[in-house]
Symmetry: C2
Subunit: 212 residues, 2 copies
DNA sequence: CGCTAATTTGACGCTAGTCAAGCCATGTGG
DNA sequence: CCACATGGCTTGACTAGCGTCAAATTAGCG
């Protein structure tokens, strides 16, 4: 089964949370507990966000509950800008998360930066398309690990904030396949697993060559 | 086998073609024969384009020749803007095509419009991710046909400028699967095929419900 | 009219999905 | 402190959908 989105009914608390932050000027702070919704499909799209600590998933659902995670966002990364006045995606905190929130005014002042961000977002999505459309399970996982490794600064020790289900829904696979590929990579000593969420990259070159 | 990109060596002729058009001000016209390259990976990214007549495919290649078509562009649609100073994609004319070409100056003047285009492009890529990541072959084809139908104005008669290979590489499938799904949809009288490139949408509602 | 490329169809195999059970770490209450 | 529940992850057995390979058919074009 695919993961259906849970955690939909907490919007009230968040509304309070945001209200407390009084969004209007630049750089206000909001905090979210693990699993909490940041925005939902249909919500007004008038802010954007930068992760300070924690991690965020942005995803879309099909009516039968199938989920596609379109992006993860780590500390330092921006998200939340979309075409249209309403969001077409959901965003949730994966772990406990703090965000810098930018309001409409700030976005208008910085539309030049926003263009660069939008272009980068498009490039990221299109790269992701290649991975999902034309690579097999091992290649997808390899690409995912390499990408995450680079975004965390290139260190060999990788902390995964997201669950196997999140990874599966990001890569168009199932948790079982993600798990099996991980153990296969472990067996080949390409990676080592301290625990399920902590990956040691043993042979980055091998991972890279798997991405094609 | 996946389609390797052919048609790489004609860049010289095109350089002439573009030179002839003297790109500098807004709205210059360029024409391309079917299969000709408009830009390649690594080319300088300093123009953008609007299709006047014909159709364009934008794609990326893996080193072993696997190809992912990230977008098709029909008359009226813009393409060619990317992050970075160089292109990371290839663009080719599918059929004989004429384009309006906009130079760097024009793009700077209209960075506000460009933002909207970039956001739309990102949305399109992310929608495409959901289709490829989480839908089965029939659903992908249905989504593709509905999308194309809407972009051609909603008429029930659909002319496909692209080959089965292009469709396969767009949807992350093989030509054989595309062909089989088409015949299955024909058997169910959801569509009719005048010829391979001309589709009659018989039951648009049925197609839509297949997309979820 | 014949050549070539594109598309369709068929037979078969493999990758990844499904279903189910087991494992492991964590937390809770007796 | 232990029994037990819980949720996330792993593993195994089996299956289905799509890919591969090959051949037939059709369409396009000089």
């Amino acid at each position: 089964m695919y993961a259906a989105a849970q955690a939909r009914q907490q919007s009230v608390e968040q509304a309070e949370q945001l209200a407390k932050a009084q969004v209007s000027g630049p750089h206000l702070v909001a905090t979210y507990k693990a699993g909490r919704e940041i925005y939902a499909e249909g919500d007004l799209n008038d802010k954007c966000y930068q992760v300070s600590t924690g991690a965020v998933r942005v995803y879309r659902l099909l009516s039968d509950g199938r989920r596609q995670v379109v992006s993860f966002h780590l500390p330092g990364e921006m998200f939340g800008f979309e075409a249209g006045t309403d969001h077409s995606f959901f965003a949730e905190a994966i772990t406990d998360t703090t965000l810098a929130v930018f309001g409409r005014r700030h976005m208008q002042e910085r539309s030049r930066d926003l263009l660069a961000l939008a272009l980068a977002g498009m490039a990221r999505a299109q790269q992701h398309l290649l991975v999902i459309g034309r690579q097999c399970a091992v290649e997808r996982i390899a690409a995912f690990l390499v990408d995450l490794c680079e975004r965390q600064g290139g260190g060999r020790l990788l902390r995964l904030p997201m669950s196997r289900q999140d990874i599966a829904d990001y890569l168009g696979l199932t948790i079982e396949t993600v798990s099996r590929v991980m153990t296969k990579l472990k067996a080949r000593s390409v990676i080592a697993l301290r625990d399920a969420r902590t990956v040691d990259i043993m042979r980055l070159d091998a991972l890279r060559s798997l991405c094609c």
